[in-house]
Each structure stands twice: as C-alpha cells, then as structure tokens.
C-alpha cells in the first residue's frame, strides 16, 4: 500500500499555519527576553557571597531543572486560578511558564560564563579601583558573553521548541493551529510534516543569525 500524499488541503489553509508560526515567534521572543532578565538576576544571586541570596535562587533553579516543562504550563494555567484565585489567559500563562523555566536554565548558562572568567581579570579590574558593578559591566560580562553564546543559543532553541507545549493551553501557536487544520482536513501526515518544515525553516534561519552575531561578538579573539 502506498500512501497518497496530498498537501493541497493544507496549502489552502496556509494563512492559519502562518498565523500560528507568527504566534510561536511572538511567544518565544517575549519568553527569551523575560527569561534573560530572570536568568541574569538568578545568576547574580547564585554568585553572591551571601547565603540568604544564594539559597532561594538555587531552589528556584533546582525546581525548574527537575520538573517537566508541561507541568509548569498546567500549573500557571490551571492551578493559579484555584490556589490564588488568579486566572491568566493562555498567552500570559504560557509566557510565564516559559520565561521562568528558561530563566532558570539561562541562569546556569550565565553563571558558568561568569565563573569561567579568570581571576586575573577580576584582579586587573579591581586594581584600577573599579567597584564590583563596574568590573561586572566593563570587564567580566562582556567577556563572559562570548563564552555564554553557544550554550545560550542552544537553550533558546530548546525554548522555541518548548513553545509547542502552549498548545495544551489552547494558545494559538503553530502546533495548536496544526491540530485545528488537521481536524478540518484529516491529513495528519501532511499537516505535521508541514509543521516540522516550518519549525525547521524558523530554526535554521535563527541559527544563521546566531552565527553572524557570534562572529561579531568574538571578533577580538
């Protein structure tokens, strides 16, 4: 038996998929920006000499590292209304779930990058009279950024793919739209092949951009 591929019903509904792709990009972009902020704060807390700052940040990171991402989505969407009487729309719940979990992962990337900067760099900066904030901003973070870049891109790709979980909250990103198209066309093979191709195009373009950015960032080497 040979399967008769027929993409025409899917092509007829391409605006729906395109809209889903747009929503995927939107949710990923917002979650990356918020995740970076959360991650930076967590990383600085985890590097603090004070235990009462380190501890909560470590608990946060460990929680997200050791629980499945889909649980975070459900928790924000279904548990918050029950527990705290706060109900969020799917977009907000998904963004919160994504940016807190990616924040926890980014924190580890940032912390590793900062710790990889040799002691001599910290001392060279301190010997000039720089404060901790100045040496972070001028000396440590710019160098750490180049070393964090590859793992940062890796985590961001994971995040982009994790946005598919937002479909479970009925948020209209690419996968959710695909399920809708599928229920109208009954062509799951074609629909999910098309979705895979769209993700592929999106991520390959992202990695091309990342390569350009990395080359600029490490130009001094």
């Amino acid at each position: 038996m040979t399967y008769q591929w027929d993409f025409s019903p899917i092509l007829a509904r391409w605006p729906m998929l395109l809209d889903g792709l747009f929503n995927t990009v939107k949710i990923a972009a917002v979650a990356i920006v918020l995740g970076v902020l959360v991650g930076l704060v967590l990383a600085l807390l985890r590097l603090s000499p004070r235990r009462f700052l380190r501890l909560p940040a470590s608990v946060f990171v460990e929680f997200y590292r050791n629980t499945p991402p889909i649980v975070h989505f459900f928790w924000f969407f279904y548990a918050l209304p029950v527990v705290l009487n706060i109900s969020l729309d799917p977009l907000v719940a998904a963004v919160l779930a994504l940016s807190t979990q990616s924040g926890a992962f980014y924190a580890e990337v940032f912390r590793g990058g900062i710790r990889s900067i040799e002691r001599g760099q910290w001392e060279g900066a301190r010997a000039l009279g720089m404060s901790h904030a100045q040496l972070m901003r001028r000396i440590v973070l710019p160098q750490a950024a180049t070393r964090m870049f590859a793992p940062f891109v890796e985590r961001s790709f994971e995040l982009i793919k994790t946005t598919a979980l937002a479909s479970t909250l009925a948020y209209g990103e690419l996968l959710y739209r695909a399920m809708m198209v599928n229920s109208e066309t009954f062509r799951p093979l074609e629909v999910y092949t098309a979705v895979a191709l769209l993700y592929l195009v999106l991520l390959v373009s992202c990695s091309a951009l990342a390569r350009v950015a990395e080359a600029r960032l490490t130009a001094y080497r």
């Binding site: 060279g124 010997a127 000039l128 009279g129 720089m130 100045q134 001028r138 001094y220």
Partner: protein
Amino acid sequence: MPEPILQVSGLHKWFGALHVLQGIDFSVAAGERVAIIGGSGSGKSTFLRCLNFMEMPTSGRIALDGTPLGRVSAGKPDTVRYPEGELCRVRERVGMVFQQFNLFPHMTVLENAMEGLVTVKRMKKAEARERALRELDKVGLGGKTDVYSGRLSGGQQQRVAIARALAMEPEILLFDEPTSSLDPELVGEVLRVIRQLAEEGRTMLLVTHELGFAYHFATKVIFLADGVFHEVGTPDEVLKHPRQERTRAFLERFTEFSF
C-alpha cells in the same frame, strides 16, 4: 625623614591553617623604591597584594597618609571591615602591575590604558585618550594602540599593563614579579621601563627574582622569609653584605650557576 605615605602595622595573613604573614611592620615614604626578595612561598607576593587589598589582611592595620583604612566594629578590635568605596579609592592611589599582566583581552591597547580613566575616574574620552597615549608612548607602544592585547608579545603586554597603571597617576606602584612570566629575552624591555620610572622618582615596591636589577633599582631591600622581614637594609647591605645566615644562603643559590 619624610612622612610615610603607606604604613603597615602588625600585618598577619592566614590562608586556612597556613600562617603566611606573621606580623609585619612597614612603611614607605614618597620617592622610596623597595625591592622585596625571598624564596617562593615566603609570603612576598601576599605581602604586596595586601597593600592594595588584592588579599584581605587577617589582622593588622594599613594606613594611607596617616589615616587607618577600614572600620573596626565596637567590641571586636581584631576584625577590620573594609567598605567597597574605600577599597576603590585606595586602589586608585596604589596601582599594581601583575606577573600575568591581566590585560583586558576584549579591548585594544589604547582602550586598556583608557579604561580606568573613563570608568573609574569618569574622565572625558578625549582627555583619557590623550593621557593614555602619553603613557603608551612612554613605554614605547605608541605605535600599537589599536591592536588587541592578545596579539602582543609578553614584554609588550607587560608594558601596556604598566601604562594602564601609570595612566591612573598612582602615588605608589606595586610590581608583583613583573618579569617572572616573560621569556628571558623580553625581560630587559620591561626592566628598562621600570628603571625609567625609578629615575622619575616614583614611589615603587617591587617583588622580584632579578637580584641584579633590585640592586640598581632599590633604595631599600627587604628579604622576606617565613612570613617575616628577615633582613632589611640598603641594596649594598642586604645583597652584598648580608648579616643573616639565611639571607646569605638565599643569595648563594642565585650565584650557584653563574659564570
């Protein structure tokens, strides 16, 4: 005797169970050049690094212009706390050149020399640039300003590091084995720069294994052993006519393979 700029009293440093500095009293006056010699592990680098708080003294006080640094909390006379702002101001006045140069690799030679001026002294870029160029010229690197520091030889890197420290116009300069990580043929170019600074009458402390250079450079030589000043005197006294057996034994190791 001129007033001391920097004064150290009862300085102790412990690294865990290791008693590295065992009670040091010391002062340096304007225009003095002090060479600190001693075997590895004698505590000479640690001593120097305590003076600009790269290492925190375990106990003892350090005073700048007669004012003791740090605060003693009531009831605990042995623990001195150093607020960050105070440490920054001290380090602006007490510059340091490291064994491993510690240049900033993401910056050019010129940016390295300007960095302290712009970020710490909040000087205008144009003015900082002018001063940085002047110091780079002085160390003979006026032609390499736009090169990233990693592309330079060790000797050149160390001279940039000296220019970076000089640009801050420190009152005291600390040199922590500035030639120890250089290939032998590059040592001379760095020592010549340091000698030039000596001729300008700058106040400097130098930890070194270059005894010949120490002899010509210093106004005072300190032989450190087991965390204490074992012998202190003029270069002639300590290096040519040491009184202590230990100093003599140390110096003999340097002449063992001479020809």
